[in-house]
């Protein structure tokens, strides 16, 4: 990964790791879950549970996925 995308990735990570304030959290969580958001989440959960039926399968999948993600990020 060249330096510019790497900086962007670092900034994105920092943004997702920062601690929000109580009012910020309340504001975010007060937004109702839309039907589209719900349907997409339910479809994803159903796929994941069908494809990886046991907890062990799911944990192993996430280890593989995280390894792929870090390799891609470091290239």
């Amino acid at each position: 990964m060249s330096s510019r995308p790497r900086r962007t990735a670092l900034r994105a990570t920092e943004a997702s790791e920062r601690q929000v304030t109580g009012p910020e959290a309340a504001a975010y969580l007060s937004v109702p879950i839309s039907e589209t958001e719900r349907e997409e989440a339910v479809a994803l959960i159903r796929w994941f549970r069908r494809r990886y039926p046991t907890g062990a399968d799911r944990l192993a999948y996430v280890r593989r996925a995280y390894r792929r993600w870090t390799m891609a990020r470091n290239q």
Binding site: A15, S16, E17, R18, Q19, V20, T21, G22, A25, A26, Y28, L29, I33, E37, R38, A41, V42, L44, I45, R46, F48, R49, T54, G55, A56, R58, L59, A60, Y61, V62, R63, A65, Y66, W69
Partner: protein
């Protein structure tokens, strides 16, 4: 054992077998429940009296504690690490971002044993309690996780 050789299922089997009162929290708990989210580490909330037992179970996996048990009790948390990273919370109580106290004892009473396989189980907080633990740090990714958990909670029979 290095993290690259880490046998995840054997690790959970050892934790179950050692008898330590340990709840899997954090994103790996979401994964076990069926939410495909990425994470680098493991997060446990452990009974404050069970640090030695927990550490002993983790030793064969090459996981070394960053602090001795007494210091970990004072700090309220520590890490077990090699190539893997296991965050261990040992405080008796942790406040949410709104100041609501959440106690280990209450979560332990309401825990749910969840099978990773037919033979290996892990202890998880109830869905409502897992949502509460997501309000400890309240990072943007925790808030996203809360929304996913709320959908899971509302969608009975998924």
């Amino acid at each position: 054992m290095q993290g690259t050789d880490f046998d995840e299922l054997a690790f959970f089997r050892a934790l179950e077998g050692c008898g330590a009162r340990a709840l899997l929290i954090g994103r790996r708990a979401l994964v076990v429940l069926g939410l495909p989210v990425l994470t680098a580490d493991y997060d446990f909330w452990l009974h404050i009296d069970d640090i030695e037992t927990f550490n002993q179970a983790a030793t064969p996996f090459g996981l070394a504690p960053t602090h001795q048990p007494d210091e970990a009790r004072r700090r309220g948390r520590y890490v077990l690490e090699n190539d893997e990273h296991v965050d261990v919370l040992v405080a008796r109580s942790v406040p949410t971002i709104d100041g609501e106290p959440v106690t280990f004892a209450d979560l332990w009473d309401r825990r749910q044993a969840t099978g990773l396989t037919d033979a290996v189980h892990v202890q998880l907080p109830s869905l409502a309690d897992l949502i509460l633990t997501k309000r400890f740090a309240s990072r943007p990714k925790d808030l996203e996780d809360i929304r996913l958990l709320e959908i899971l909670r509302q969608e009975d029979g998924l």
